[in-house]
């Protein structure tokens, strides 16, 4: 038992150090976002700035596009996307984890192959816009690229193979349980850790994505997700500041945008909800999977 205690203390010490390493730069980011822009440029990024300012946040929350609505889009997108992603990933991964499934090798190969080769941006764009007409719709944020990836499938498959004993599955089969019943009643409950992991990964993927909005949303600005909105704002003011020699007199107001502090404020705005929601989502989520498994 003494052994155990030593381990626990050791683990705490190491993890505290690692956590500090992880969040110190985050604190720097947070502090910079509250620093006056001119001070930021003149004195650099400081943990304790000489002049505080909330102007960067005022700028973000006051300009044209609504950040609040963008949060809404992101939450809906992440929720729907995560559920769909988890469902199709789990089912496909389970299929290729079955040892004697005919064609298993080809399916696995096709999955890994898809991870290595892709047709490129233009062909993908053409598939989704010309064939499926997804442009300027919510589905354009949901489907392209994010819903399933080879990495998550392989991860899950590996868990199924290593952590679910095939004897249990065989026993269920002999007992007359159908394949679907085995999946929902045995596999899903036994796979909570990996399902939570894959869901988390899919969720992060959806929350962080700005590329789909960037490419597929050209007209309906109400479909901007938070990351997409922030990314656009950031790139726009960057571009604006670079081409300022072309901007006219009447626009002098625009060159006053606090680029350096806004950049940091935007990053903070983008991840703050995650820090707040992470524990709740985690708790709720594990419960959800348990229920799903029981209901079958």
């Amino acid at each position: 038992m003494k052994d155990e205690k030593k381990f626990q203390i050791f683990a705490h010490v190491v993890l505290i150090i690692l956590s500090l390493l992880a969040i110190l730069p985050m604190i720097l980011m947070l502090m910079s976002s509250f620093t006056d822009n001119d001070v930021l440029i003149a004195e650099g990024y400081k943990f304790i700035p000489s002049k505080l300012s909330t102007y960067a946040y005022e700028y973000i929350f006051n300009t044209g596009n609504s950040v609040i609505r963008a949060y809404g889009v992101s939450v809906v997108l992440t929720t729907v996307g995560t559920c769909l992603s988890l469902a199709i990933t789990t089912m496909l991964a389970y299929a290729i984890s079955i040892k004697d499934l005919p064609g298993k090798k080809w399916i696995t190969f096709a999955i890994v192959f898809s991870m290595l080769f892709n047709g490129g941006l233009v062909p993908t764009y053409m598939v989704y816009t010309n064939i499926f007409n997804l442009k300027n719709t919510f589905f354009a944020l949901l489907f392209p690229g994010l819903m399933m990836n080879a990495f998550n499938i392989m991860l899950m498959k590996s868990y199924f193979v290593s952590s679910i004993p095939s004897e249990i599955l065989d026993a269920a089969y002999i007992d007359g349980a159908s394949q679907t019943m085995t999946f929902f009643k045995i596999v899903v409950p036994l796979s909570k850790p990996i399902m939570a992991t894959v869901a988390l990964f899919a969720g992060i993927g959806y929350w962080n994505d700005w590329m789909n909005g960037y490419i597929y949303i050209t007209k309906r600005t109400e479909l901007y997700s938070v990351q997409n909105l922030l990314n656009r704002m950031m790139q726009n003011i960057q571009f604006l500041s670079q081409s300022s020699s072309n901007v006219q007199n009447a626009n002098a107001g625009l060159s006053a945008i606090p680029l350096a502090s806004v950049r940091m404020a935007m990053a903070t705005v983008g991840i703050l909800p995650i820090i707040i929601m992470y524990p709740f989502v985690q708790k709720y989520f594990v419960k959800g999977i348990t229920l799903g498994g029981v209901k079958g």
Partner: protein, 537 residues
């Protein structure tokens, strides 16, 4: 392996078929109809352009729906809130004048370059677009652009446009003799090498500027020696502040070196008099700059972070810890730079006015090669340049909603409207086809259009290669290598962190190893051929 092969090829064929199937977009018959009407009118000797418009109107009456032309360009915030209202207002007018609807598709600058390329590649409807963003040569090389003189398109349906733009400016947009775009009307010339110093710092140092004469734009005429003297004075008076806010703009804004064909790997050092391609990085001009920058750095005028700090030069001055910068200027520059730098700046003109070979063709307006109705697109393009009503709507929005007109015809915000809450404020006047067809903003001279035209005409150094363009796709390997070599070795020279003796040698060795000579030879050959074709010596 055989099985795998078969599997893959089946996949490929299936998906290829699907992709192809999807591409065959339903084409409307408006184009063929326009062409037919035009043929008939031509045969009858009638006004062809008007006949096409009448035919469109008649058809719209029949179907109750107007044909639509989509115009795309970028702004800073994406589709403005009032875009539908503005589109309706423009269309209301163009239904009368042209018998069609116009839709502005405004995309934010962040996404425009990618979005427009995707739309042009995938066959979506975009009829007219600005090449500001993706770049004119990229668009031409990728085959996105329509030959504007095909079937006399410009002469027949854009006669007014053709008259409006000087023939040599149109010629400047030709690629291989073909006209793919029409330049926006703006200032093409720049006043090079303008040194800006915060007025408060000059005063604080007790530096007397009255000894300088003023140039034709009203800025102080100075030499590099004067600049050294000024820098020394303000450095002494404000030792805690950094003197010079750097950016890598010596060649682009600080000299009359012509970046023929869009890059500095092979340039014209004396563009007004000679068509000889030379390596600018071996020139006296660059060497002098390198020595100057090195001296400044040694004297402590340049920040130790100059190479890694990517903050804009004017933003650093605004922050209060930097005092001077170099830029280019133009008429009516004072207000703008004061706003950018957040303080009153004194402008010293060290260089000359210069119009480079690519100044006019940097971002022309083009017609999509896959447009269904080139005639309608050309007519809308012409309206954008020549119809004040259309130009005002596109540039400024609706009168009474976005802006109000003063007694002298200049305009200002409508009551209660400003840059933040305006529903339509693209703020890209310099990209607009013809900003001078629209109102002038209060504070700018009413005759700013004329002033700009004069500035362009009176430009001291006008490149002989004006209008020369070169497709460098065959030398993309060299170009990529050159770009990498330049970025690896240029910063330390341009910002004076290395003794020019060693720095310049390193840079040039790397450039030649990357294939500079081949690249310059190819450029020279293309230039000679172009010059012979156009009778330029």
């Amino acid at each position: 392996m055989g099985l795998r092969k078969r599997f893959m090829s089946t996949m490929l064929i299936a998906s290829m078929a699907a992709t192809l199937f999807g591409c065959g977009s339903a084409s409307s018959d408006s184009a063929t109809e326009s062409a037919q009407v035009a043929e008939e009118a031509k045969a009858n000797g009638a006004d062809v352009a008007q006949a096409v418009i009448d035919a469109r109107k008649a058809k719209a009456e029949e179907t109750g729906e107007y044909q639509k032309v989509i115009v795309s360009f970028f702004d800073w915030t994406g589709a403005p809130a009032g875009i539908d209202r503005i589109n309706e207002a423009i269309s209301e007018h163009t239904r009368e004048t042209l018998g069609l609807d116009v839709e502005l598709m405004i995309i934010d600058s962040a996404a425009y370059s990618d979005d427009i390329k995707l739309m042009l590649s995938s066959g979506e409807q975009v009829d007219l677009f600005s090449t500001c963003g993706p770049g004119y040569m990229t668009c031409v090389n990728n085959g996105y652009t329509l030959d504007l003189e095909e079937d006399d398109l410009l002469a027949t349906y854009g006669a007014e446009l053709k008259n409006l733009i000087r023939a040599d400016y149109l010629d400047a947009c030709r690629v291989g003799g073909v006209l793919y775009g029409v330049p926006p009307i703006k200032d093409y010339a720049i006043q090079t090498a303008t040194i800006l110093v915060g007025t408060e710092y000059l005063e604080g140092a007790g530096y007397d500027v009255s000894k300088f004469e003023k140039d034709e734009l009203g800025y102080y005429k100075a030499t590099w020696d004067d600049v050294d003297e000024i820098f020394a004075a303000i450095h002494k008076a404000f030792p805690d502040k950094t003197v010079f806010s750097t950016q890598d703009n010596l060649l682009t804004q600080g000299s009359c070196v012509d970046n023929v064909a869009g890059d500095y790997y092979g340039t014209l050092l004396d563009p007004a008099n000679s068509l000889k391609i030379e390596n600018v990085y071996e020139s006296d001009l660059f060497k002098e700059w390198a020595e100057r920058a090195y001296a400044w750095n040694q004297a402590g005028y340049i920040s130790g972070d100059a190479m890694s700090d990517k903050t804009g030069a004017s933003a650093r001055i605004k922050s209060g810890s930097f005092m001077a910068m170099m830029s280019q200027s133009k008429p009516a520059y004072q207000n703008q730079i004061n706003g950018e730098c957040g303080r009153d700046m004194t402008i010293f003109d060290v260089g000359e006015a210069f119009m480079s070979s690519s100044a006019v063709s940097s971002f022309p307006w083009c017609i999509n090669q896959s447009t269904e109705d080139p005639i309608a697109a050309m007519q809308v393009l012409t309206a954008l340049y020549t119809d004040p009503e259309v130009a005002n709507l596109v540039c400024w929005g609706q009168e009474g909603v976005e802006y109000k007109v003063n007694s002298d015809t200049s305009i200002n915000w409508a009551d209660g409207v400003n840059a933040d809450n305006s529903e339509y404020y693209p703020n890209v006047l310099w990209m607009m086809p013809n900003q001078y067809a629209a109102h002038v903003w209060e504070g700018d001279p009413i005759d700013v259009g004329q002033q700009t035209a004069d500035f362009n005409d009176n430009c001291a150094v006008k490149s002989k290669a004006l209008g020369f363009t070169w497709d460098n796709t065959d030398y993309s390997a060299e170009f990529t290598a050159l770009k990498n070599a330049y970025e690896e070795f240029s910063g330390q020279v341009v910002y004076g962190f290395v003794d020019p003796k060693t720095g310049l040698k390193e840079l040039n060795d790397a450039l030649y190893a990357a294939g500079l000579q081949d690249y310059m030879d190819a450029k020279q050959a293309a230039l000679d051929e172009w010059a012979a074709e156009n009778g330029i010596k």
